[in-house]
């Protein structure tokens, strides 16, 4: 039957299947291997293009995901990839495949969320495709944006000595998902029990309605800071720092107690018998920005409350290390959410 995909993993599969593809065009600044492709279609801006697919039963469960939120999130996660290039989103195409269980009104709900995201981020819907499917719902979005050539942030441009920064806080989206899954299981067993999410609203919002951090890009720009390397945290801090270090050929030190974690996240992690740092490192879906900045900007960064300095870029041979509170170091191996292993 051949090699199971799980044996290879998503990232190695992508490397293997895409490596034979040739380049044909001089306008291609970056192809596969970053948050988005970068094309030079005119002399002023780079055009950036990214695509993501969301599949029912894999990326979302419609029992507890309102269709409007799903539409919003499907756009948001694509725009987050544009943000990770330090770009401005401009256009999307949306393709959906859906089974006969979906009514016209259900599709309108989905598109009302897509519309809300388009309006919030001034993005135009310029095309798409609609198809039936044998089972369930699939949403495939391509986002197109632009960035000034001198501002584009690749995964590959981290420099030794850079400060490693993260926006917002981490782990909340993962715990929001755990809460929804727990209440869903309770509901299946005893349908008369109503779920109680009081005090946990923040976690649900982070899971169901993530926002791309264009506000952080503006804050950095206003402060005169242009990050060296940047990536959005879709698969978890651990996986993303590994991407930056591999592509930049550097190492990293991350200080565990500097990772920003909201109080509700910490309390809820403990309810699930999980270290909050585990959710922050491996949870994913926070769609915060992870970026590296020249250490000269330290004073400026310290004045920005929505940005945390969590570590430093080191030489490649020093590896990727998590420094625990007592000073012990542990190897920060990739344990990001892998679509084929979860």
């Amino acid at each position: 039957m051949g090699t199971p995909i799980s044996e290879l993993g998503e990232f190695r599969l992508i490397d293997r299947i895409t490596s034979p593809f040739p380049k044909f065009h001089n306008e291609t600044i970056r192809g596969i291997g970053d948050d988005a492709a970068v094309l030079k279609l005119n002399s002023e801006n780079y055009t950036i293009i990214t695509t993501d697919v969301l599949v029912e039963g894999i990326h979302f469960n419609l029992v507890y995901t309102p269709l409007k939120h799903l539409g919003y999130k499907a756009v948001a996660v694509n725009l987050s990839d544009i943000a990770a290039m330090n770009g401005t989103p401009k256009y999307i195409t949306v393709s959906i495949a859906l089974s006969a269980k979906f009514s016209v009104e259900a599709i309108e709900q989905l598109y009302s969320g897509i519309l809300a995201a388009c309006e919030k981020y001034h993005v135009e819907l310029i095309g798409g495709d609609t198809s039936s499917s044998m089972t369930g719902l699939m949403i495939s979005i391509t986002a197109i944006g632009e960035v000034l050539p001198q501002k584009v942030t690749y995964r590959s441009s981290a420099k030794v000595g850079d400060l490693i920064c993260v926006s917002g806080d981490l782990g909340a989206a993962y715990l929001g998902l755990q809460l929804l899954e727990r209440e869903y299981k309770l509901f299946k067993d005893t349908p008369e029990i109503q779920p109680d999410f009081s005090t946990k609203e923040y976690l649900l919002e982070r899971q169901l309605k993530p926002e791309p951090r264009f506000d952080i890009l503006k804050t950095l720009n206003d402060a005169g800071i242009c990050p060296h390397a940047m990536i959005d945290i879709s698969d978890g801090l651990s996986s993303e720092i590994n991407h930056i270090c591999t592509k930049s050929n550097v190492g990293a030190k991350i200080y565990a107690h500097k990772i920003p974690i909201d109080t509700v996240t910490s309390i809820t992690a403990e309810e699930f018998n999980m270290a909050p740092e585990t959710a922050a490192l491996h949870g994913g879906e926070d769609y915060e920005l992870l970026f590296t900045v020249n250490a000269d900007h330290l004073n400026k960064l310290l004045t920005i409350p929505s940005i945390s300095i969590i570590g430093m870029i080191t030489e490649a041979h020093e590896g990727i290390k998590l420094i625990l509170q007592g000073g012990n170091e542990v190897d920060l191996s990739t344990k990001g959410w892998d679509a084929f292993l979860s």
Copy 2:
């Protein structure tokens, strides 16, 4: 349960869900409603963007579709939309969702077909996404191309008095599918019988390995002919001429006996007790080009063997008519392949 999608149909559903979306950007020349969106990202060319999704069980059956052919076709149908804008394809992104039944080797087969199409048409793979799915395979491709502003061909620019032309021949892809389905059913009942496709290879090739007609664009360009309106025939001649007439606010006369049909198509249609014209009008998947041309070009067009003149654009109030051999007229109502009705 709400309104079933089949009650509305694909095209009305798309109109309904996309009409509330606002425009934000001056660079948008055309958004939704043609074979591709058209953006003015630089002063020389228009950038054209199109997207299509193929779903297992809806658009293809892996029992008789080799994965390499499927990969090739998935690219070809997107490039055909670029051809319909009179454009040149340059880039694609490819997203796939697939269940655990697919091995690494199977995915490599699929991508070998994608690669073959990229190499043939000098198209670069610049991005994508890979996901698992609960069942089956889904391929979503976005293609990006370019066209000179004075050469772009919309559905909406047909003029009264234009000649209606079609490239190649029609109906073969549909009969190829009927043959494959028939042999598949025979095989299910009596697995010891080997399918016999001798003399029918042309029909299978048209179904399994369609080619976008960039050669026709070159022929027209070399002859100094720029079509007024153009569309590719994915859903059948009848559906496509309806799109052109509706968008251009014109009518059309199509002469049934002028529709180009290959001899093998005609013979096989009769084996299936079907008028060959029915396959040509409603079959779809031929990916030929349907276009309208100023009647001044008649003499030039008559010298091009791969192009057939099949009718004329008329005033809108004259409707869309099929003229039969005896001279009788029938209304050419839309009976194109509709993903939600089939």
